[in-house]
Amino acid sequence: MDFSQVSWPEIGQATLDTLDMLGLSALFTFLVGLPLGIVLYLTSKGALLQNRPFYAAVSLVINVLRSFPFVILMIAVIPLTRLLVGTSLGVRGSIPPLVIAAAPFFARLVETSLREVDRGVIEAAQSMGASYRQIVWKVLLPESLPGLLAGITITTVTLVSYTAMSGLIGGGGLGDLAIRYGYQRFEKEVMIVTVVILIALVQILQMIGDKLVQRFSRR
């Protein structure tokens, strides 16, 4: 094996692109997924704003999006991607499909975490005259913080593998490099280097996530 042939500047650039994609897509995933998860929770059966038709409709859309294999979703949303960011290529072009794939997933994780919050605590807050907004901000979110952090970690790690896949449609980043050099040109060294970087990335993210969860667990 000869790693001297590997173009390190190119690897460096691809790593930065991956981090760029990951950061932006994670940010938008959380911005979309968190409110969506809160709405799902609030309108679910037995919750504060129970609304069964609404819940069923949102739930269906989420399930549909989650059933799509990412590779297919990525291609299917190209027109929408062009509309949103003007291109379907590069880091920018990869953000919409990544968010569309990950946000419903994250919303479900948020819903599940919120459901873990003790009903009694919510009732206590209501008895103290808390408004719905206060219940969300001062009870639900702080009480479910460890679960939310775990959800953020899982979602980010999932996004790492999605960003690699987006290389298939010219998304750039480490996945793109692995496909072009490693797969199409049989340069297995490049393949190995990218995979190792991705593994390291996942390890680091998971470690940070676990630490944060631990830091905020009070049970």
Binding site: D118, V121, A125, S127, M128, G129, S131, K138
Partner: protein, 332 residues
């Protein structure tokens, strides 16, 4: 202070309709400790939750401190709820907040200035004996300490009413007593009106002024604790009374030369030698067949079943003397 008028609550579960409460009328005076006792499923929890409308009754009116809560909109109701503190069987503290922050919670909801919050929280920590635990999280506290945090939190917004939902049911007997005496102390110190629900007669006997017995969604008996406790009318009430003391029952009369009496003493009279003075004057003899002497809240009481033996006329005179002394005497 609190008036419930014709409270009825139905739950519709699919095709079946379950009636949790039917036609409840209740009035709680300012500054009193009012207990509602009932078995689980009797509707006591629903009754308590309808006072602050955590459960909205199907029909009826809830009036707290002159305001008809059932007529209010969401915003105004949230405003009114701040005047009604509540504590819970499972404490329901924020696990992600320290003792201090839990107590400050209702004040933060009401957007109270920081300096006022700090002062109030310190006062409450002192009152509930939690000062040294102020930076701990609920998971680091014992059950009794958690309930103290619950009480401090409920008092933070200076409520006029405190609702207690089985507040001592998850605690051991010793801790139960310390929580009960804290509640009594608060009631006396601040003139706070307390409504509590429980399935333990011990709780009613220790701190309540008046009691209502709830059974299958209706109040089957209510009145002063002494009256309900000493003369239970409904079979369910009797069951509860038997939790804390053997029933003192008057057996049927046996022979003619003797009379069986059930004598009830109340208050300071309990400790006076009334019976012994009466028999000395009339010359009859007595033997105690059964009896109990204890306290209700701080009021001593006694119930004795005695057999009087002697001359028939002397026995009659003894009974009259006892009655003239203000004792409650039942003759078999």
């Amino acid at each position: 202070m609190i008036r419930l008028e014709g409270i009825t609550k139905h739950y519709d579960t699919g095709s079946r309709r379950v009636t949790a409460l039917s036609g409840i009328d209740l009035a709680v005076a300012k500054g009193e400790i009012f207990g509602v006792i009932g078995h689980s499923g009797a509707g006591k929890s629903t009754l308590l939750r309808s006072i602050n409308l955590l459960e909205r009754p199907t029909s009826g009116r809830v009036i707290v401190d002159g305001t008809d809560l059932t007529a209010l909109g969401t915003k105004q109701l949230q405003e009114q709820r701040r005047k009604i503190g509540m504590i819970f069987q499972h404490f329901n503290l924020l696990s992600s907040a320290t003792v201090e922050d839990n107590i400050a919670f209702p004040l933060k909801l009401a957007k109270t200035p920081k300096a006022d919050i700090r002062r109030k929280v310190s006062e409450l920590l002192e009152l509930t004996g939690l000062t040294e635990h102020r930076f701990k999280y609920p998971s680091q506290l014992s059950g009794g300490q958690k309930q103290r945090v619950g009480i401090a939190r409920a008092l933070a917004a200076d409520p006029q009413v405190l609702l207690c939902d089985e507040a001592t049911s998850a605690l051991d007997p010793q801790t139960t007593n310390s929580i009960l005496s804290l509640l009594l102390d608060i009631n006396e110190r601040f003139g706070l009106t307390i409504v509590l629900i429980t399935h333990e007669m011990h709780v009613i006997r220790s701190i309540c002024d008046r009691v209502a017995v709830i059974h299958e969604g209706t109040l089957v008996e209510q009145g002063r604790v002494v009256d309900v406790f000493l003369k239970p009318q409904h079979p369910v009430t009797l069951e509860f009374v038997e939790q804390v003391s053997d029933p003192v029952e008057l057996p049927p009369a046996a022979d003619l030369a003797a009379r069986l009496l059930k004598i009830t003493f109340l208050g300071e009279r309990t400790y006076e030698p009334i019976l012994s003075k009466a028999v000395q004057a009339t010359g009859v003899t007595f033997s105690i067949l059964q009896g109990t002497i204890s306290k209700l809240k701080q009021v001593p009481y006694g119930q004795l079943v005695v057999k009087l033996e002697g001359d028939g006329a002397a026995i009659e005179r003894t009974i009259e003397t006892l009655r003239a002394d203000g004792l409650d005497v039942e003759v078999a």
